[in-house]
């Protein structure tokens, strides 16, 4: 049977669209884990990236930190933390957050640094306090880049959140993990298709956010 056959078999299976192991439930769980992890990553990375980018200090330290964090194996971290802390949401969140912090942090820093210095000079000379310069001048101008950093973090979280299933959490990873242990390839393929679709939906969401939040003056000025 080919991959399309497996997928069709998966999506046509009885009870697939309802119940505790139905697609809507698993999708919602996956979105919840991913959303929470992204939120935590943003709360950590955005302020640090914005402030260091604004002041221009700490760029090297950030780069080292980001490289180190990227080297962390998500799955290994999950298993290690679960052994240390037992089953729970924290061992799931830590690897996901660690995955998204570096792209958000580094891109935000770079985005803030790439704002035309004469713009900041003009804003200072006009008498804007530093926090207004940050929030009302640098942030709106850097926003397209910052959004791209959050987007790559979000997509990585969405694709990796499948590992939650290994430690008996839900989410779309459930289908993949269960499918593998039950030798049910239709389930594995179906789960993979769903994860990939969610990643694409995330991409679309950020495209929409860009349209909504980024000023036309910045968007078309590039």
């Amino acid at each position: 049977m080919n991959i399309f056959g497996y997928a069709q078999q998966f999506f046509d299976a009885p009870g697939r669209w309802s119940g505790a192991d139905g697609i809507p439930t698993r999708l919602l769980e996956h979105v919840q884990y991913s959303g929470l992890a992204l939120l935590i990553a943003m709360v950590i990375a955005l302020p640090v990236g914005l402030i260091t980018g604004h002041t221009g200090r700490g760029g090297n330290a950030l780069a080292v930190l980001a490289t180190a964090a990227r080297a962390l194996p998500s799955f290994g971290l999950l298993v290690l933390l679960t052994i240390l802390m037992g089953l729970g949401l924290t061992p799931v969140m830590v690897p996901l957050v660690a995955l998204a912090v570096p792209p958000i942090l580094v891109t935000t820093y770079e985005a803030m640094r790439s704002v035309d210095p004469s713009l900041v000079d003009a804003a200072r000379g006009i008498g804007l306090p530093w926090w207004r310069i940050l929030a009302q001048v640098e942030l709106p101008v850097a926003l397209p880049l910052i959004l791209s950093g959050i987007r790559s973090g979000a997509i990585q979280i969405v694709s990796t959140a499948t590992i939650a299933a290994y430690v008996s959490f839900g989410g779309l990873g459930r289908y993949i993990v269960d499918g593998l242990s039950q030798v049910d390839y239709a389930k594995v393929v179906g789960g993979a298709v769903l994860v990939a679709s969610l990643a694409l939906a995330t991409l679309a969401l950020f495209w929409g956010l860009g349209k909504l939040l980024v000023s036309p003056g910045v968007r078309r000025g590039r």
Partner: protein, 373 residues
């Protein structure tokens, strides 16, 4: 009045940008800081709104040390215009201009109304209000920059090479606009440029700075041209400072001759009668009195030639009596193949002609009166 009092700016690497500079900048006039790159003119300007803090000395605004006021309040009391305008790309033109009024607590509608007023003042069509900076030309962006600086009606305007990134024609337009606005508003303008012609055109007072941030001369432009303090200033002014100096002298005292002016429908006799001994040429005007060109009186007197003005010699350009300077009159005479300058009134009608020799006499007269040196 802004007083720069024995101000020095030294950087940690040991370079001295400004060296014990003292300047009194009078209210309600344009003071230009000019000099080669590295002379500390921008640093000096930036010490007035505390973008740069002096190492020694102090800056006084109306007798008070500027460090006494909160820094952002100080900056909001001074308009600030920079080279590439530094407009906020994410804001529309009207919102860019409304920035400082909004900062000062004006509500959105009042600030926008004020911004629209300012747009008119700087010569920007209201149709630009909703555009973003990237949709404007360099000159238009700079007009928005000036409008933004003026929006909160600050008494002081600091301008850091505002017009040096635009082409010469646009620059001239912006300079004229600034002079027009200044005639209306009477701000205390401190203007930085490396262009001595710009300094002479705009400045009521010009401070020439030399490398290392030392003051070479501080004088009104006419005095700068007539009596440069030293070789450095003389060099910086360039070779044709004598000619440029003439732009400070009016043309109302020039003796104009109206005799050799005839309308194009004049008879051969009238052409012959109009000729003066000094020149074989007469100036031909149209029926409204606007100059068309020079004609050889003797040839015209012997009968009309083919074509309406095919045989007329071009007169170059005319100068407007009263408004244009002696420099424009001399230039007009030099350009004219007959050696005579054509004078017109505000409506462009020829009111007389004047020979190079008469202009030279007027210049000699100015020397005798001691206004030129």
């Amino acid at each position: 009045m802004i007083v720069i009092d024995a101000v020095t700016k030294r950087y940690p690497d040991g370079t001295t940008a400004v060296d014990r500079l003292t300047l009194e900048i009078p209210d309600g006039s344009i003071t230009v800081l000019v000099g080669p790159s590295g002379c500390g003119k921008t640093t000096t300007l930036r010490m007035i709104n505390r973008m740069v803090e002096p190492t020694e000395g102090r800056v006084l605004l109306d007798g008070r040390d500027i460090r006494e006021a909160p820094v952002n309040a100080l900056r909001r009391s001074m308009g600030y215009v920079i080279q590439h305008a530094g407009l906020f790309p994410h804001r529309t033109v009207v919102d860019n201009i409304a920035t400082v009024p909004r900062l000062n607590g004006a509500d959105k509608r009042a600030a926008r109304r004020r911004a629209l007023e300012l747009m008119e003042r700087v010569g920007l069509d209201a149709a630009f209000a909703k555009r973003y900076p990237y949709q404007l030309s360099g000159g238009q962006q700079q007009r928005v920059g000036v409008a933004r600086a003026l929006a909160a009606d600050p008494p002081v305007l600091l301008m850091d090479e505002p017009f040096s990134a635009v082409d010469p024609i646009v620059r001239k337009g912006l300079q004229d606009e600034l002079l027009r606005i200044q005639a209306d508003l009477g701000k205390t303008v401190v203007f930085v440029t490396h262009d001595i012609d710009e300094a002479i055109k705009l400045g009521d007072m010009v401070a020439v700075l030399r490398e290392g941030g030392r003051l070479a001369q501080y004088a009104p432009p006419a005095q700068l041209l007539s009596a440069p303090a030293d070789e450095f200033v003389e060099d910086f002014l360039g070779v044709d400072r004598g000619i440029r100096h003439l732009s400070f002298f009016g043309t109302d005292t020039l003796e104009l001759t109206t005799e050799p002016i005839v309308t194009e429908d004049a008879t051969a006799e009238q052409f012959g009668a109009a000729a003066v001994p000094e020149t074989p040429y007469v100036l031909v005007t149209d029926a409204a009195g606007r100059p068309r060109g020079w004609a050889d009186a003797a040839v015209r007197a012997s009968g009309p030639l083919d074509g309406p003005d095919g045989e007329l010699l071009p007169y170059g350009h005319a100068f407007t009596v009263g408004r244009d300077s002696l420099r424009a009159a001399l230039d007009s005479a030099v350009l004219s193949p007959t050696g005579w300058a054509v004078a017109v009134d505000e409506e462009g009608r020829a009111v007389g002609v004047v020979a190079q020799e008469s202009i030279a006499a007027a210049i000699r007269g100015a020397h005798r009166a001691g206004v030129l040196r």
